[in-house]
């Protein structure tokens, strides 16, 4: 378990997240792609902390910030999905092609 292998796994997770977020039509699935990207970012940050950060605690603080970002993204994302669905009955990205409303 070296830094390179950890980063390769993180890169694979980010790549899968990019693929999912771009390919999926449903808002909720799109958000799962974003979650997967943050997942990879957390893994990469923890890898850097463990292998290249001299073990200082500030690296772990970065991971905590990434986890807070993930919680915010999920809460605001679901609230937006609910609001868009109420206004437009839309749960697919194609349904809100225009910005009005």
């Amino acid at each position: 378990m070296t830094l390179v292998t950890v980063l390769l796994v993180a890169g694979a997770l980010v790549g899968i997240g990019v693929w999912g977020a771009l390919a999926q039509q449903s808002f909720v699935m799109l958000m799962m792609g974003i979650e997967l990207m943050v997942n990879g970012a957390i893994l990469a940050a923890a890898g850097f902390w463990a292998h290249a950060g001299d073990g200082g605690p500030k690296g772990q603080v970065l991971v905590i910030v990434a986890m807070a970002v993930m919680a915010v993204e999920m809460a605001i994302g679901f609230a937006l999905v609910a609001a868009v669905y109420r206004a437009r009955q839309a749960d697919l990205t194609e349904d809100i092609g225009s910005l009005k409303g």
Binding site: L13, V18, Q25, W49, V61, M74, A75, Q89, D91
Partner: protein, 204 residues
């Protein structure tokens, strides 16, 4: 031993992450995403970030159960009973994903990183606690306030009722010039036709 465990967790994390977008049922997808997060949490524990690994585990378990509820609400293809295409621009998306993976992989292999691993036996959890409640207090507090603002925003955004009644009651578009007439065509919700949503929902 640690290397074997790392390979197992890494393969499980990537495979379950891939299966998220390859399965038909969106509930299964959310639990597969949970599996991916749990495996990443296990890798974090292997990396000696025990606190973060366990925190990720607990946080993601709760978050994915909530996500499964939303999946049921917005499910397009329950239990694979309604075969359909849930993707668009698949080639572009796959190319972007491969490009991201290859790009990060190349950087990971080519770049030189400092070799300064955590010494085993170091009490990283105590250090993290002292850091969070000491020098990095501002970061910690900012995250807390951000989460509070998030809660307020989420409630406002998803609330069915606003200050003036229905959630979109007060959403009248302002007139173009001061004191001008309100233009109904600018409203967020179409006034005529009663249920403005009829017929345009669904999934084709």
């Amino acid at each position: 031993m640690i290397d074997v465990a790392f390979v197992v967790f890494a393969v499980a994390a990537v495979v379950s992450g891939y299966r998220v977008f390859a399965t038909d049922s969106m509930v299964r997808a959310s639990f597969l995403l949970l599996a991916s997060f749990l495996n990443v949490g296990a890798i974090l524990v292997l990396l000696l970030a025990e606190y973060l690994g366990i925190a990720l585990l607990f946080m993601m378990t709760v978050e994915m159960v909530v996500m499964a509820l939303f999946m049921v609400m917005f499910m397009m293809n329950p239990a694979g009973l309604n075969p359909m295409v849930m993707v668009h621009q698949p080639r572009l998306a796959a190319a972007a994903g491969v490009a991201a993976t290859v790009g990060i992989g190349v950087v990971a292999v080519v770049a030189e990183f400092p070799d300064a691993p955590v010494e085993t036996g170091r009490d990283t959890i105590a250090e993290l606690g002292a850091e969070l409640l000491g020098p990095s207090m501002l970061v910690f507090e900012s995250a807390g306030v951000t989460l509070l603002a998030t809660m307020v925003c989420a409630v406002i955004l998803s609330s069915a009722r606003g200050r003036y009644g229905d959630g979109y009651e007060g959403s009248l578009a302002p007139p173009l010039e001061p004191g001008g007439d309100h233009r109904p065509e600018d409203d967020l919700v179409d006034a005529e036709g009663g249920d403005e949503h009829a017929g345009q929902g669904g999934h084709g």
